[in-house]
């Protein structure tokens, strides 16, 4: 239950590229061929381990349509990481990356880690965007890049975990101000430097379960 750090992520990109499926594969380890269209945003969470430390990921999956764009923008500021997803079988979703990136850079805090993801790598026969193109785009804009398949789960874990690792390293380097919650990072209850002792409160006796205050 308790964690060393909590990171907030958002998943962005055109509609239909597989954002919701990626989240579902990551949190529930399953693929749903017909996924409901996301309205606004949906929440998901999972615990991972980096360097032996428990890290809680809280992830907001957004709707890609233009109509929800302004709603989505409200989530940039408070996020520590973003997965920017395109569909390797649909060229136009790759072409829209610039717009997404501009939007993200404009509204987020400057330290937000952005991971570029070319999804649906299982559909090799219908590929329209070469892997090299994705790599080039990522290099040009300073992003981390990966191709994934929400269907076969290939690289899905890695995408989420590598993003977390980047954030974690930035924390170690002191780049992130971890005391500012607006950065999308929280320190876990037992790590809080101001409150090292055990929680004194709790119910009348026999309090088992979560040790957080």
């Amino acid at each position: 239950m308790s964690y060393a750090y909590l990171f907030k992520y958002i998943i962005i990109g055109d509609t239909g590229v597989g954002k919701s499926c990626l989240l579902l594969q990551f949190t529930d380890k399953r693929f749903q061929p017909v996924h409901d269209l996301t309205i606004g945003v949906e929440f998901g969470a999972r615990m991972i381990t980096i360097d032996g430390k428990q890290i809680k990921l809280q992830i907001w999956d957004t709707a890609g349509q233009e109509a929800f764009r302004s709603i989505t923008r409200s989530y940039y500021r408070g996020a520590a990481g973003a997965l920017l997803v395109y569909d390797i079988t649909r060229r136009e979703t790759f072409n829209h990356l610039t717009t997404w990136l501009e939007d993200a850079r404009q509204h987020s805090n400057s330290n937000m880690v952005i991971m570029l993801i070319g999804n649906k790598s299982d559909l090799e026969s219908r590929r329209e965007v070469k892997k090299e193109e994705g790599e080039a785009f990522a290099r040009e804009h300073g992003l981390v890049f990966m191709e994934t398949s929400a269907k076969t789960a290939a690289n899905v874990e890695e995408a989420f975990i590598n993003t977390a690792r980047e954030i974690y390293e930035k924390i170690q380097e002191g780049v992130f101000d971890i005391n500012n919650e607006a950065n999308g990072i929280k320190i876990g209850p037992q790590h809080s430097p101001t409150n090292p002792s055990l929680p004194g409160a709790g119910g009348q006796g026999g309090s088992q379960g979560g040790g957080c205050c």
């Binding site: 239950m1 606004g40 929440f43 969470a45 809680k56 409160a201 119910g203 088992q208 979560g210 957080c212």
Partner: protein, 798 residues
């Protein structure tokens, strides 16, 4: 007032000789000063003056000053004092309250109309939101007040605007951390209004760490003992969670359930301390909050994880402590019982825990027993008795062991335990003279049998000692007898529901029932009756249903009432048509609709307790089976040897018929709506056009007069005040324009809905035809009621 007058003097440059200026004139001058003066002090004084006049001369300040105020907000945004005056002024003119000093109440909705004008340009709202970022109290405070006022008048519009205005929600969330309590508390209220019914805003607010902040405030204020601010925090949390699965998920994942623990700490000496009204309100909110997390309407996996977390955080234990504490006010007790019910419902571990809770009575008794004692006690408040029933049902829901335990207490046992048991209480209630107790007990007992064939048979073994000396009779026998004897509708219905649950899928029970003297005659008489008083049609429906169960689950062991005999009895005495129509009385009845909505039986008055959720489910599952069985029997007796429809096929057919009937009805409703709305829209268009015309005319006149004025041909005395078109007219015009556009979009939506429905209907038609074909292939002869208007080519389907 004196001060104000002298202030005015300085602004207006001294008193004019002669008559006092009218309010309108004064305001005109002030507005002029605000817009054209190059001196900051001048503008500031004018704004201050406008503010002080804005209550008394609200209409004048609003109509003449709105643009000037907006302009100042942009031009002088660096000057906190001026901005403060402007925001305060806007706050006054858009207020939904009426001020004492306000003169002519021309229009009650004046505040709303000014709101509408102000927010028409959504940038204005963004502008006000941007002032939240200013820390100066003189700005931030009136900005919060103005937003509150706008939100109160136009909640939906403001929600939409805030949602799309950049970081709008975030700005509000930021100032929730303001150390000045008056601002923090006010923002809290603002957020409660803003989040109401808007899932997108709710999610952003949660994303912006609302739960952390709110728990922080609640802790500062002293948890349950805190004042109204605690209640406000809880209300906001409730808004964020209600019907918002994403946020419930976030709440659970963020370990916020554990943070609720201190809210349930009830001091030992609570009886002396007493329950202050605020404390009562606070705990009600907390209970609501817990129920939101485990509502039966949530997706199952979410509810069950929340249930588990609640138990692990010892909150179930805390709730049970309240349940068993002394001196808890009845309404809190009632709500706690409901809450415990939903926390344990369908969760085996929690149900097991609940089972072990003991009441501190003398002798100690299980909490369940104490609760049931209240349920069958006429003197207890009605709502509390309902809550106990719900809690008991929840205890038994998907809990085979619990069901068995209750039935066990009724069986002839080896140990001579004299302690009062759940089973005894229910049997006592079942045949007591209080019809409400009969109903409660019958429903409660029926829940020990749901989807549990073993207990249906076990319960058959229960014997009751009746009058001294006479033979003991079985519980089922007694139920069937009491059903005939009692003259209270509620008791009859309760027993009929119990019997239906018991006898469905249990041929042994049916056989015993058929042997009860008069039982079948009673059902037949009720089912064939052609007249009824209020709610008796329902009684007849329930009797018909039980009769049907006797046919379907009949193993032909009772010679007189074999499957065939009973079918013929129905056919001859009632008639199949008549029988089916009696049966459908049940699902047509409004109480059926109400009862099948949610597991909790919701009733205001004792007489409202008629049907119950699980019974409705049973009915829905078996109605078509009964009809099909009777049909098959009829065919058999007609020497038809063909196989009839399979059970499944028939069920499907009935389902499709239902769907089509339903869609027909909705289509009709929608068409009606459409016609009405088209009509309304046409009317509005005509009105709008009229207004446009008269507005144009006024503008022409105005231009003419201006021209005349500049040409000096008109005596200024006679010049009517036409700086602006008649404000009243303008407002009305704007309102009408808005209404027209609203109606337009409504209409469009309806068109879309209708298209969707038509598409669905076609879809269903196709399916139905496929089915009919398949049935025909199976040799079934079905009358094709709608084959002639069936536009789909049957050969195309496959």
């Amino acid at each position: 007032m004196e001060y104000f007058k002298s202030g005015l003097k300085s602004v207006l440059g001294g008193p004019q000789p002669g008559a006092q200026p009218t309010g309108a004139e004064t305001i005109e001058k002030l507005v002029d000063r605000v817009t054209s003066s190059t001196l900051l002090e001048d503008r500031r004084d004018a704004c201050r003056a406008l503010k002080s006049l804005s209550k008394k001369y609200r209409l004048e300040v609003g109509t003449q000053g709105m643009d000037a105020l907006k302009q100042t907000l942009e031009v002088d945004r660096a000057n906190c004092e001026i901005i403060g005056y402007c925001l305060d002024t806007l706050c006054n003119i858009t207020s939904s309250d009426t001020f004492e000093e306000e003169q002519d109440l021309l229009n009650i909705n004046i505040g709303e109309q000014f709101t509408e004008i102000f927010i028409k340009n959504t940038d204005n709202v963004s502008l006000v939101l941007s002032f939240l970022e200013e820390y100066d109290f003189r700005v931030r405070w009136p900005a919060v007040k103005l937003l509150t006022s706008l939100l109160k008048n136009k909640p939906k519009d403001i929600q939409d605007i805030v949602l799309v205005s950049p970081m709008g929600v975030s700005k509000l969330m930021d100032i929730l951390a303001d150390s000045r309590e008056v601002i923090r508390n006010h923002v809290l209220l603002l957020l409660i209004q803003l989040t109401k019914g808007n899932a997108n805003i709710q999610k952003i607010v949660a994303f912006e760490n609302a739960f952390d902040r709110l728990f922080e405030v609640i802790r500062e204020e002293g948890w349950l003992d805190g004042g109204i601010v605690v209640e406000d925090c809880l209300l906001l949390m409730l808004n964020l969670l209600k019907n918002n699965t994403s946020n419930i998920n976030f709440f659970k994942e963020g370990s916020y359930i554990q943070k609720l623990t201190p809210m349930f700490v009830i001091p030992d000496n609570i009886e002396e301390l007493g329950w202050s009204p605020q404390k009562v309100s606070n705990i009600h909110c907390v209970l609501q909050l817990v129920r939101t997390l485990v509502s039966p309407n949530n997706p199952v996996q979410i509810t069950s994880v929340c249930q588990k977390n609640l138990r692990n955080a010892n909150l179930l234990e805390a709730l049970c402590n309240i349940l068993m504490a002394n001196g808890v006010p009845a309404d809190i007790l009632t709500e706690t019982i409901n809450t415990v019910g939903e926390v344990i419902r369908g969760n085996l571990n929690n149900q097991e825990y609940f089972c072990t809770v003991m009441a501190p009575s003398n002798p100690p008794r299980p909490a369940i027993v104490v609760l049931l004692m209240s349920m069958v006690n006429e003197k207890q408040p009605f709502s509390l008795r309902c809550a106990v029933l719900y809690c008991f049902q929840s205890f038994l829901f998907k809990n085979e062991i619990g069901q068995q335990q209750v039935v066990q207490t009724l069986l002839p046992s080896t140990n001579n335990n004299t302690a009062l048991t759940t089973g005894q209480l229910l049997c006592g209630g079942l045949f007591s003279s209080d019809s409400l107790s009969n109903w409660f007990s019958a429903v409660a007992l029926s829940h020990t049998l749901i989807e549990n064939p073993a207990q249906k048979e076990q319960l058959l073994r229960v014997l009751l000692a009746t009058n001294l000396g006479s033979q003991p009779v079985s519980l089922l026998h007694q139920c069937a007898t009491f059903m005939q004897q009692t003259n209270k509708l509620q008791s009859k219905i309760g027993l009929l529901m119990l019997l239906a649950t018991w006898m469905s899928h249990c041929t042994q029970a049916v056989a015993i029932f058929l042997n009860v003297p008069g039982a079948m005659a009673f059902l037949t008489a009720q089912t064939s009756a052609t007249e009824y008083d209020n709610n008796e049609e329902l009684l007849q429906g329930l009797c018909a249903f039980l009769m049907g169960i006797c046919v379907v689950f009949n193993d032909n062991t009772v010679a007189n009432y074999s499957k065939e005999n009973l079918s013929q009895l129905i056919e001859k005495r009632v008639g199949l048509e008549m029988y089916i129509s009696k049966l459908s009385e049940i699902s047509r009845h409004e109480v059926y609709g109400r009862a099948s909505k949610q597991p909790q039986t919701k009733a205001k008055y004792p007489n409202d307790l008629i049907l119950e959720f699980e019974y409705c489910k049973l009915f829905k599952a078996l109605e078509s089976v009964i009809v099909k069985t009777l049909g098959a029997q009829k065919q058999l007796s007609n020497d038809m040897t063909e196989l009839s429809l399979s059970e499944q096929e028939n069920g499907l057919l009935l389902q499709y018929k239902d769907v089509i009937r339903d869609q027909d009805r909705r289509l009709q409703d929608l068409n009606k709506d459409l016609m009405r709305i088209t009509q309304e829209r046409d009317n509005l268009q005509v009105q709008n056009e009229d207004l446009r015309q008269s507005n144009l005319q006024l503008q022409d006149e105005n231009t003419l007069l201006k021209a005349q004025l500049s040409a000096g041909t008109v005596n200024s005395e006679t010049l009517p005040n036409t700086e602006l078109p008649d404000p009243d007219l303008l407002l009305k015009l704007k309102q009408l324009e808005k209404e027209v556009s609203e109606k337009d979009s409504e209409l469009e939506q309806l068109h879309k809905d209708q298209d969707d429905l038509l598409e669905l209907l076609t879809d269903q038609d196709v399916k139905l035809t496929t089915f009919k074909n398949r049935l025909r292939d199976l040799g079934e002869n079905i009358e094709d009621e709608d084959s002639d208007n069936n536009s789909i080519d049957e050969t195309d389907v496959k």
